[in-house]
């Protein structure tokens, strides 16, 4: 490891006592535990770590701060692994991404020679003609542009998310974050401190001399770790802010959804690069990146460096390098800032050449840095001088990592004094602290963090919130224009997307002169690093192009997630709530074929899936000719009680409910304000102040919510209790149902005692039950509603009692055919989001004489103006051709005039029957209906009158079970 410093630093993350082995592009290297992939490769002198997105230019390490998207790696299992932050593991076999061959000798490197033919937005303008060649171009571009290759045989993985709550979430465990955490914890608040690094400390562990850090923040990390009110979560990156103060924190174990009453954003700064020719060469490093490499991993970034600075931090970085044994060839200063710092003086004393008012004109080297050209800021190339070096260290400016603050509603402005953006406003419960707020020295950071924490604590505890104190620095830390144009271009602004200075200028010239438009046209800031090192320079370039200031130019919108998150983490655990009816086990035992009806598992039919049609037909015949039993526990079951219960239902449903006698039921149709059908069911009156009603299986909760809302809005003394899951229900149906039920019930069931459309309360098998005489399937039938606990006993008792009558269970498939034969609609299937009761032929269910009910105004207006109508149709007896499907279209003269809503082969009638919603004008005219079925075939159906079966309803009211005899 030739670039590993011999002396171990006191704040290193690596364990020098142990070694591990790994390979990159087939060559074996050694590293220490704690090394990242990038630090390990740099320690071994491997500088070219990847290839760029578009031109396949050589690239290397840049920030060491989780933004180095040109140093991505793949293994056999994974791709796009960020080398700058991912620990290298023993035995790891790494490859570079987006290369053919090796990173150093990429076969696609020739693309860089043709860069002039690939200007910004070229893919919008090229490849249109000849059209036939487009697929070839597309394939070629996809092969050469991009990041890692996705394994299409990838096995979906999920990492469960979990939730956490705290009083104060502090994001960033640098000096400001740790100080704010201590301040909040000392106030008695429960603090969660998160940091993306494996160790807390932030800039303390790489950017400040040890004695300076210790003097300013004595034992800060130790005090944080020891405080019982602070929970520290390292390797935890807060990636977004959502309403309600929810912050997803990405960790190695998955996402933690943190909900905090207050948030301290101590996320620090993002260092911004200068722009000059070949500023992307491997060996060009941000100064903070070089310091991270040096202090955390003990790796020297180069042997001879040229440093470009515009602040005190750059001088400190140069001094750090010199102390580490790196020869500093020259320090060029873009501005006066930092020139009077202790570090600058120490460099002078050490004899390091310092070049005031100098800029970096160009970086030399084909594959890696071999030299740098420095010249006066206002001079020309002739005034410049070349310096041999293998590293160029740059510190020309900063941008606040204020993305979460933005997402929380905060704003930033450009501060001309600091020459960078700073937060200008923020919510009381989400406060910036430290460097993100423009506080640079450790004393400033500490004071700013204390003030931020005190303001937050006061806001959370209801105390008087102290004033915002100004602890920002008052000297610039950024160069206003760190850009040097070169006649041969290759001045890179966005390393993710391979965008150059000329690209952004051309975008502005082409009219994309708004920062949001420029972003979308040029894709600046849209790569994996999300513009963390390119957005500020892009704004500068656009501002210069437009002749505007930075604030007038604006900035792009920060949106969640502000940092890429693994798909498996976003997926999380899959929650798919399923509801079982109380006798689910019996259905399974009877070979019921289950299907999902919303969250419910229901039985389609009983028996083999292979002979489903025969099974369903047999079940239909059983109900028509004998007796069948179906589990209808999924029905909505709602109690409405109270003195105003009748008024509540009267106002909610279209039919009269208040005049229903105790013991009677009514068909209940619910519409919305526009008169569109939203639910139907049966309302039974159990007492003057007590109703029991059913609702559609998929609409029960919504119906209960609607009733509750109406009760509140209308100020009624009525209570609504949704008992859908608490109760089970069976429907015993068929001409023999009464005799079977009589065997298990003491209650008189004759027509006089218990007539059709009535409800009674009694007991079966010792359980309290409610019996409803309803007729959904068009036969004599008894719905039996009871506590879930009683369902098994009652089901078993009825099956035993009906054994000699040939009782059989039937499923939803048979039930749907039975109701279709009877011409009953299913809301949501035969109706849609525009269907009114008049469209569905249910004007009989609308009582416009009522002074008020929900939707009455709309229905009164629509009466007689219905644009469409539900009609019945049938195909010939014995028809064996293609059966229309639900939603197949009705066609007349080539135009769509309607659609099929229900269709089935009727075992009872021996022919296919169905319902269709068609245009009103055709209702009276046509005796035939033309339907377009699969493959564009047309078939003709006969219009018939509904119900198809028992039009007079005799069988539902039948007085004797002997109807068939």
């Amino acid at each position: 490891m030739p670039f590993r410093c011999s002396d171990a630093g006191s704040r290193e993350w690596i364990d020098r006592s142990r070694r591990i082995e790994f390979s990159f592009e087939g060559r074996r290297y050694s590293a220490h535990p704690g090394d990242t992939i990038t630090s390990a490769l740099l320690a071994n002198g491997v500088v070219v770590l990847g290839r760029s997105f578009k031109y396949h230019r050589p690239r290397g390490a840049f920030s060491l701060a989780n933004h180095d998207i040109n140093a991505l790696f793949s293994t056999a299992e994974d791709t796009n692994i960020r080398g700058d932050v991912t620990p290298v593991e023993d035995g790891m076999a790494l490859e570079a991404v987006n290369v053919r061959g090796t990173a150093a000798r990429d076969k696609d490197r020739y693309l860089d020679w043709f860069g002039r033919f690939m200007p910004v937005g070229f893919y919008y303008k090229a490849f249109h003609r000849p059209k036939a060649l487009f697929p070839w171009f597309e394939k070629a571009i996809r092969q050469r542009a991009g990041l890692g290759t996705v394994d299409t045989y990838w096995r979906p993985r999920r990492r469960p998310k979990r939730y956490a709550h705290c009083d104060v979430l502090v994001i960033g465990a640098g000096p400001s974050g740790m100080t704010a955490a201590l301040e909040a914890a000392e106030a008695g608040l429960e603090v969660l401190l998160v940091d993306e690094n494996p160790h807390i400390g932030g800039s303390l562990d790489y950017q400040w001399p040890l004695d300076t850090a210790e003097a300013a923040c004595p034992s800060l990390a130790e005090r944080v770790a020891a405080h019982s009110g602070i929970t520290v979560q390292t390797k935890a990156l807060a990636v977004a802010y959502y309403a309600g103060q929810w912050v997803p924190v990405a960790t190695d174990e998955g996402i933690i959804k943190v909900c905090a009453r207050g948030i301290v954003v101590a996320t620090g700064l993002l260092e911004q690069p200068p722009i000059c020719r070949n500023n992307d060469r491997p060996g060009v490093l941000l100064a903070s990146g070089a310091q991270r490499l040096l202090r955390r991993f003990g790796v020297a970034p180069c042997q001879r460096a040229v440093v470009l600075t515009a602040n005190a931090e750059g001088y400190q970085a140069a001094l750090d390098l010199q102390y580490a044994g790196v020869e500093v060839a020259a320090v060029a200063a873009l501005t006066e800032a930092g020139a009077d710092s202790e570090a600058a003086a120490a460099l002078t004393e050490a004899g390091v050449p310092r070049l005031a008012h100098h800029a970096l004109y160009q970086v030399h080297g084909d594959n890696t840095v071999t030299g740098a050209r420095l010249g006066p800021i206002d001079g020309s190339d002739a005034d410049a001088q070349d310096y041999d070096c293998d590293g160029v260290i740059v510190s020309t400016g900063w941008a606040p990592a204020a993305h979460l603050l933005h997402e929380a509603g905060g704003k930033v402005r450009y501060d001309t004094e600091l020459a960078m953006h700073v937060p200008s406003s923020w919510p009381a419960s989400v406060v910036p602290a430290g460097r993100v707020n423009g506080a640079f020295t450790l004393a400033q950071q500490t004071a700013d963090a204390v003030n931020a924490a005190r303001r937050l604590v006061a806001a959370l505890t209801g105390a008087t919130v102290p004033a915002v104190e100004d602890w920002r620095d008052h000297q610039p830390h950024s160069a206003e224009w760190p850009i040097v144009r070169h006649s041969r271009a290759r001045e890179f602004v966005d390393l993710d997307e391979d965008l150059q200075l000329k690209d952004l200028e051309q975008a502005a010239r082409e009219g994309f002169d708004n920062i949001e438009l420029m972003k979308r046209f040029s894709t600046v800031g849209m790569g994996p690093s999300q513009g963390k090192h390119s957005n500020i320079n892009a704004i500068r370039i656009l501002a210069a192009s437009n002749g505007q200031g930075m604030d007038a130019t604006g900035s792009t919108t920060a949106r969640p997630m502000y940092h890429p998150v693994r798909m498996e983490d976003l997926a999380g655990r899959r929650f798919r709530p399923q509801r079982y009816t109380p006798i689910h086990d019996r259905h399974v035992a009877l070979s019921g074929c289950l299907f999902e009806a919303g969250p419910w598992l229901r039985v389609g039919h009983y028996g083999d899936e292979a002979s489903a049609d025969d099974c369903v037909a047999a079940e239909v015949n059983t109900v028509r000719n004998g007796v069948g039993l179906i589990d209808v526990s999924t029905l909505g079951k709602i109690e409405v009680v109270g003195p105003d219960a009748a008024r509540l239902l009267e106002g909610t449903y279209t039919a009269r409910m208040a005049n229903a006698k105790v013991g009677a039921t009514r068909y209940a149709l619910m519409v919305d304000d526009t008169g569109v059908i939203i639910d139907d069911g049966v309302v039974g009156r159990l007492a003057e102040d007590h109703y029991y009603l059913t609702a559609g299986s998929g609409h029960a909760a919504a119906t209960a919510r609607t009733l509750k809302r109406h009760a509140v809005e209308w100020g009624l003394d009525a209570h609504v209790v949704d008992r859908t899951g608490q109760l089970g229900a069976l429907n015993l149906a068929g001409p023999l149902s009464r005799s079977v039920l009589a065997r298990v019930s003491d209650m008189p069931l004759d027509e006089a005692s218990f007539p059709y459309l009535n409800i009674r309360e009694t007991r079966l098998c010792g359980y309290p039950v409610r019996l409803l005489r309803a007729g959904f399937v068009g036969e004599l039938a008894f719905e039996i509603h009871m506590p879930a606990a009683g369902m098994g006993a009652v089901w078993d008792a009825l099956m035993r009692a009906g054994a000699d009558a040939g009782i059989a269970p039937f499923g939803v498939d048979a039930q749907r055919i039975l109701r279709l034969e009877k011409g009953h609609i299913i809301v949501g299937q035969d109706t849609d989001g525009l269907t009114t009761p008049f469209d569905a032929g249910m004007s009989w269910a609308v009582h416009l004489k009522k002074p008020f009910f929900k939707g009455r105004g709309a229905l009164a207006h629509l009466k007689g103006k219905s644009p469409k109508r539900l009609v019945a149709f049938a195909l010939p007896t014995g028809y064996e051709g293609p059966l229309p499907r639900e939603c197949h279209l009705a066609i007349r003269d080539g135009d769509i005039v309607g659609r099929v809503t229900s269709i089935a082969r009727s075992p009872t009638l021996g022919r296919p029957i169905g319902l269709a919603m068609i245009e009103r004008g055709l209702v009276e005219d046509d005796a035939l209906l033309t339907l377009r079925v699969d493959n564009g075939q047309y078939i003709t159906a006969e219009r018939v009158r509904a119900p198809f079966y028992d039009p007079d309803g005799e069988r539902q009211r039948v007085a004797s079970e002997e109807v068939n005899s």
Partner: protein
């Protein structure tokens, strides 16, 4: 992770609604929680105030209420799941978005667990465990999910 999941039986659950529900319960000797969405212990179970005039009574036996009482009383068949062991709160963080720090002793919370509406109840000593009640139709799903969560979390720890 020290937590176990088990079904819980032996509690009779009733829901009382309507004006006079509080008086009715008091008349039958039950304690009444003063605050809506809170609970107080009673014979082997608890009385929870789920609304101004709404109560959930969980007890060893069905409450003996006066026939002349005004409120409506409905039997409940909630599926009851018990999480026991000191790490129950940690296990629940995988499936419950609510702030479980509010669950001290004798606490009551109406919440969502694994996408299902539930009520949560701790006894006098919250470290002892948690009782979860949910709609019986979701019982199988919820209990299975909780067992999976506990098992996965344990395997992660290993």
């Amino acid at each position: 992770m020290n937590v176990s999941v088990s079904s819980r039986g032996g509690l009779d659950l009733r829901q009382l609604v309507g004006a006079g529900a509080a008086a009715c319960l008091q008349g039958a000797g039950y304690p009444i929680p003063e605050v809506v969405l809170s609970a107080v212990p009673c014979s082997g179970g608890f009385v929870a105030r789920t609304g101004h005039d709404e109560f959930l009574v969980a007890a060893d036996e069905a409450p003996q209420l006066s026939a002349a009482s005004p409120p409506w009383c409905f039997q409940r068949s909630d599926h009851l799941i018990e999480l026991t062991g000191p790490d129950w709160a940690q296990a629940l963080t995988a499936v419950c978005p609510h702030d479980l720090r509010a669950l001290g002793g004798d606490a009551w919370l109406m919440a969502t667990v694994a996408g299902v509406d539930v009520w949560l109840r701790t006894g006098p000593d919250s470290s002892g465990g948690l009782l979860i009640g949910c709609d019986p139709s979701y019982g199988h799903y919820l209990e299975t999910t909780l067992r999976e969560v506990v098992s996965e979390t344990e395997s992660l720890k290993q």
